[in-house]
């Protein structure tokens, strides 16, 4: 007997959810909550808002469970719902500009802590990803962070496969440009001190 794939597990759980099985729904939540959180936090740059959107995504999945089409991949469906809700949130943000209370108080000590310059590659990369334009950022996160296949990313974003490949490549180039000074510095140091890069 062949091993059940991720897709098959999703279908089985979704069929149970359609029959009113809340245990299966809870399992779907467990499988996807952190994946969605990971994507949406990077998309929205706010963990609290991302968590709200993740919750709303699961509520929508439950509400429209009967309309799920088994011809399509469940992960594509749930990512599409989540990203659409994330885009709505970004649009809402553009309409209404929000201010943090700490911004108004002008607490310089806290600001200096927040604005410390990152030194490690993952930290630099994290900041650089946040600065990418939205379409490149989403494609990069889905492909390189979530490691979804290009075909699925294309379906989630509703763009042609070539466009996804182009966006991901462009995002990598932009990130490389941002990281280059730090990477060159690391290379120089590793050559001089003969230390492995990971220890720097």
């Amino acid at each position: 007997m062949s091993k059940e794939t991720e897709k098959d597990i999703d279908y089985r759980l979704m069929r149970s959810v359609q029959n009113g099985d809340m245990v299966a729904f809870n399992e779907i939540v467990e499988r996807y909550k952190n994946r969605l959180m990971n994507v949406l936090t990077r998309m929205l740059s706010s963990a609290e808002e991302a968590e709200d959107v993740v919750q709303e995504t699961f509520v929508r999945v439950y509400q429209h469970r009967q309309s799920f089409n088994f011809k399509h991949c469940f992960s594509t469906w749930i990512y599409t719902i989540g990203l659409n809700l994330g885009r709505n949130e970004l649009r809402r943000r553009k309409k209404f500009k929000f201010y943090e209370i700490s911004d108004m108080q002008g607490n310089e000590a806290e600001l200096s802590v927040d604005m410390k310059v990152p030194t490690r590659v993952p930290e630099i990369l994290n900041n650089a990803v946040q600065q990418l334009p939205e379409k490149y950022r989403t494609a990069f996160i889905l492909r390189d962070v979530e490691e979804l296949p290009y075909e699925e990313v294309a379906k989630i974003l509703s763009v042609p496969l070539g466009t996804v490949k182009s966006r991901v490549n462009r995002a990598r180039m932009m990130l490389r440009d941002k990281l280059q000074p730090r990477l060159e510095e690391q290379n120089a140091l590793s050559k001089g001190t003969l230390l492995p890069v990971s220890l720097l």
Binding site: N34, N38, R42, V54, V197
Partner: protein, 229 residues
Amino acid sequence: MRCQKVRSYLSAYCNDELTGSASSGVSDHLATCEGCRTEEQHFRELLKGGKELNAYRVSDGFNNRLLDRIAHERFAETRTRPYFPKSAPSLLIRRLAPILVTAGLVVAVVITNFSPNKNSQTDDFAVGDVQLDDYRTVQPVDNPNMSGMLHKDWTLGDQLARQDRINRISRQLTFDFPFNYYNQGNGVNVSARTSSPAPYVDGFYRIQPVIRVYESANRNTSKEPEVTY
């Protein structure tokens, strides 16, 4: 393969997305080019950093909060809703209802205005095609049979017409005076007693009680013309 082309392929090469000749071409070039090898190293660092990106996780109690919301949704799905039958008033009837009501009203108005009784009633008051109810349409008609009876200077046309109307109403009310009005020609002939009284014809004109007609509120009303039939 040139450096520029190799560098455009490097990100895909590092992610094992290149196949066939492109992949081998890049490998061959990297074996000989120091600059492109440095670039390749940058991309590999980037790839490694991407995998080390801190994973965001939902906060504690997320599942409970979500299940609370789902429970609310389930309650909303199962609660009793007022029953509105979908099929009873069909869409066609709902759309046609105002049209049918309007059509019914139009038919009712048409029947009321053009009923035979209405026509016969109109005939009672009409002489030819002139409506006596509208006193402004009543004008002296040059009828050869009555030419000798009419005064040429017809100055009280409006008052006479109004008087005629009043008299007809009074006739309707009393039924005592079978009023004979001239109905041979194409208009109405009424006679008025003005400065020179017109001759009376027995059986044709009946002397009615005198009804005073006031020409105008602004005029001197001491000399009120007396109009009779």
